[in-house]
């Protein structure tokens, strides 16, 4: 147990380090922005009609406080940290005065749902196919599958996304290609709403799965084809253990370990969002939010989303990492 505590402490230190670096980086980049959020909001507010110059001045003062753009660089930096720790990124400019955190909170379930599901499906399918392909190396059918999967792997997300969009949106329009769910439905636990969410999520998820399978397939196949020649497998085969048991208990199980680590890493990255897929399918997630924020020149939204995803990815990877000793006991011994 002592080894485990040291492991967790080390990982925690790393987490703090990553978060501090990421937040500092985001602050520095944003600080040199030519966009002044205060002036931008002012021009937004005053564009509706003539406003008394005095009230503009008062408004400017309170906006400065709100956005924390007062004082020296160091003061601003600590103010920024204070707001990050409170989870307060100020109001959004394009949806004034809704707080940025509220908007992020609205987009988060979509991104998490879509990406978690897609990652898990890609992992299961890729590993299953990879394990079979590695075990039956000389099977002609598996070679064809391998060729197909590996040809898909290097194709970038936007290409497969656009291709699916063209096929199912223009040539054979059977699936919705834009949005997260049917707009006229009340969000809730009704069957109509859930089935609509599934329908709208099919194409974006399929895109991510198609792109994701290849990597798992390739690494699983090479892992399995190495284990197949190991002594304990050869012995089991010679000893007449049914080949189904050899495959599942002797080979696949041993090959799983590194793949589980990989899965944990990709699950952590779910919080980074899938910008391109969400953009192509107009999916209401974090990535889409970020792009929309850039188009709208929404300073606080863009900064908020970046900071949030940096922290969320780091924390998620940390949480998954500290459960790792449960799978691999070697970590516990330190």
């Amino acid at each position: 147990m002592n080894g485990f505590l040291i492991y967790v402490a080390k990982r925690f230190g790393q987490l703090v380090f990553v978060v501090v670096t990421g937040v500092t980086l985001a602050f520095l980049i944003a600080h040199f922005s030519p966009v002044d959020p205060v002036e931008q909001t002012l021009s937004l507010v005053t564009s509706f009609g003539a406003t008394d110059p005095r009230s503009v001045e008062i408004l400017r003062q309170s906006l400065r406080e709100l956005y924390g753009t007062e004082g020296s660089l160091i003061e601003q930096y600590f103010l920024f940290w204070g707001r990050v720790l409170r989870g307060d990124f100020g109001p959004s400019l394009s949806a004034f005065p809704t707080p940025v955190m509220t908007i992020i909170g609205r987009a988060l379930p979509w991104t998490i749902g879509l990406l978690t599901l897609a990652t898990l499906i890609a992992w299961v399918v890729g590993n299953t196919l990879g394990a079979i392909a590695g075990y039956f190396r000389n099977s002609r059918a598996m070679k064809v599958v391998g060729l197909f999967v590996m040809a898909l792997q290097p194709i970038p997300t936007y290409i497969s996304g656009l291709t699916l969009l063209i096929i199912f949106g223009f040539l054979w329009p059977v699936l919705p290609i834009s949005g997260g769910a049917q707009l006229n439905l009340e969000p809730g636990m009704t069957w109509a709403y859930i089935s609509s969410v599934i329908q709208y999520g099919t194409l974006p998820a399929l895109t991510l799965v198609l792109v994701g399978i290849g990597g798992w397939f390739i690494s699983m196949r090479s892992l399995v084809s190495n284990i197949v020649t190991d002594d304990h497998v050869v012995y089991a085969e010679l000893g007449g253990v049914p080949s189904r048991t050899v495959f599942s208990q002797y080979v696949a199980r041993n090959a799983m370990l590194p793949q589980v680590t990989g899965l944990a890493l990709s699950l952590g990255n779910v919080f980074g969002g899938a910008v391109i897929v969400e953009f192509i399918f107009n999916y209401p997630g974090i990535g889409k939010l970020m792009v929309a924020g850039i188009y709208a020149g929404d300073y606080s939204l863009v900064l908020g989303v970046t900071t949030f995803s940096v922290i969320a990815v780091a924390v998620a990877v940390f949480l998954i990492d500290i459960t790792y000793p449960l799978i691999d006991p070697r970590v516990k011994l330190g």
């Binding site: 790393q14 290409i159 910008v275 990815v313």
Partner: protein, 285 residues
């Protein structure tokens, strides 16, 4: 070197196919230097012509010949990728070799920094930078940023090899015979990590080009400079699919798929060649 190449071409079908794809792409890139008109020009030819004998790949709604547009785009996109790959390779090699050779506390410190940088999600940070720089975000700036973000994984790989080279006999010999550290790293250790460098360069190229295309499709780069992503951006902006000008979107997509599969096949076959186990299996041992 030539013998290796000949063996790869003869015994490895993936390598042959990959080289073929890349050769086609390179031929198109070379052709871009013989373009009959300036690549930035619009309405140079009749708009919306389907592919045919006069315009091989058709023309788009902006009055550009798709073939010459593709050639210029492919050149610009490839140059971007190569610049990113080169800069990040230099960083990765330097960090990996030094960290592995020096070892101890220095190694730990460097790797802590390395892992921190690697743990940051790239796309949100790049998007924030694009947002802040706006029009000052030229492609060299983007290339430099991408290079600074894209070396961490590879330097770790290189370090792991350097770590084992450190304790080998010849390193000790070199050190005792008075070679300076830089000499040892460059003359003794670098050749050992070259195969890994080559393999990771391909992957880095794929990553960098993907990044550029991603940002261009979103319109976050100089959209007047022809790039593969820029072509798709303009096709989307003119709703090419709805207007029925399918070749406008198909040409860049097919080209980028060819490029990526080509690079991927090269990377994979070289990786397989480096690994003696799989090389033996291929030769039928």
């Amino acid at each position: 070197m030539f013998k290796v190449l000949r063996d790869l071409l003869r015994y490895n079908r993936e390598f042959l196919f990959g080289s073929l794809l890349i050769a086609i792409i390179l031929a198109v890139v070379v052709a871009s230097y013989f373009a009959p008109y300036d690549e930035m020009m619009t309405y140079a030819v009749i708009p919306d012509m389907p592919p045919g004998s006069e315009y091989w790949l058709g023309t788009n709604s902006r009055g550009q010949d798709m073939f010459w547009q593709l050639a210029a785009s492919m050149r610009n996109t490839l140059i971007f990728g190569i610049v990113v790959a080169l800069i990040s390779r230099v960083i990765a090699i330097a960090v990996g070799l030094i960290s592995g050779y020096v070892g101890g506390k220095t190694d730990q410190a460097i790797m802590a920094f390395n892992d921190t940088l690697g743990a940051l999600p790239n796309i949100p940070i790049l998007l924030l930078l694009v947002f802040v720089l706006r029009d000052q975000m030229t492609w060299p700036v983007l290339a430099l940023t991408a290079a600074l973000l894209g070396w961490t994984h590879d330097s770790r790989l290189i370090r792991s090899v350097a770590l084992s080279l450190r304790t080998r006999e010849f390193t000790r010999h070199a050190a005792f015979s008075g070679m300076r550290t830089t000499q040892i790293l460059l003359r003794e250790h670098l050749p050992y990590v070259m195969p890994i460098v080559f393999f990771t360069t391909m992957n880095n190229l794929i990553w960098a080009i993907g990044l550029e295309v991603t940002l261009s499709i979103l319109g976050f780069s100089d959209i007047n400079r022809p790039t593969i992503g820029g072509m798709i951006y303009w096709a989307n902006a003119h709703s090419a699919m709805v207007a029925g000008i399918w070749w406008w979107i198909a040409v860049p997509m097919v080209a980028v798929v060819m490029l990526f599969i080509g690079l991927f096949l090269l990377a994979m076959s070289v990786n397989e060649y480096i690994d003696p186990r799989s090389r033996l299996a291929r030769m039928g041992a």
